[in-house]
Symmetry: C2
Subunit: 136 residues, 2 copies
DNA sequence: GTAAACCCTGTACCTAAGTACAGAGTCAAG
DNA sequence: CTTGACTCTGTACTTAGGTACAGGGTTTAC
């Protein structure tokens, strides 16, 4: 199994090198083995994990929520039912996000379609309705 | 048309009063009219705007992205084609977010289903695949 | 017409999520 | 076996997005 120095990992994952050490401190990455001289050696799949973290952040998950998501798979001692419940909760979160995004998209779609026909946009109050469509 | 003092608006919108002044400085809310004594008087639809901002934030939009979204409707002078292009770009963003969320959801769904049947989760590397499924 | 409750501006402070050194040690290519 | 690129720990700084006063004026309810 290949392994990566922190600098290589940072380049492959598209993040700053210091960010990796930060994630390690914050328990988003587990402490990697070291060379005799103390250099970190990360398993190559850490690249995927970094990319996952970035993606989840862009979707509005905080680092501690992401930590939880990742922990769903990593805890050997936890009970199935417990994990299952937490996964269901995450799924519900995600579905809500999808619903909101879908309604934002529809609203924007309307905007572009409707405004093909009408003149200046000043009195096209479509986005004003976004918040309504989007409410629970 | 009813109007709201800043304190009422804050309560109705579920945000801190200082946040409203902050949003005004940051041009997410336009400067409201004032009473003779200098008190802000917000139109009631500002409540909906506040709620929209909060929702969009939860979906990972930064305040400046949200400012752009809101501006899609507010600029009377802009050209239709220009606005249309920006709306299309936002729609593409949103669709990408939806795709990523959908694949996260499916992965989690898999996790709960599969682990109904299997024993301890330690070697259920399902989430490890999230980052792959989720890549572009 | 005076408290209590509100709001004003301005400035300082806070948290999350990084980023940037400094000073010192390690690795690897020639 | 040295030189340049890399990494280490530790501490300090930064940015976005707020929050919290202080000191003073305004409204409203009696």
């Amino acid at each position: 199994m290949e392994s990566l120095t922190i600098g290589r990992l940072a380049r492959l994952g598209g993040v700053n090198l210091e960010t990796i050490r930060y994630y390690e401190r914050e328990k988003l990455l587990q402490e990697p083995p070291r060379t005799p001289g103390g250099y970190r050696l990360f398993p190559t799949e850490t690249v995927r994990r970094l990319r996952f973290i970035k993606r989840a952040q862009e979707l509005g998950f905080s680092l501690s929520e992401i930590r939880e998501l990742l922990a769903l798979r990593m805890k050997p001692g936890s009970r199935r039912e417990h994990i299952r419940a937490r996964a269901e909760a995450k799924i519900a979160d995600i579905e809500q996000k999808i619903r909101t995004l879908t309604s934002m998209k529809n609203t924007l779609r309307n905007l572009t379609e409707r405004c093909d026909g009408c003149g200046p946009l000043s009195d096209c109050p479509i986005l004003e309705s976004l918040d309504e469509e989007v409410s629970e």
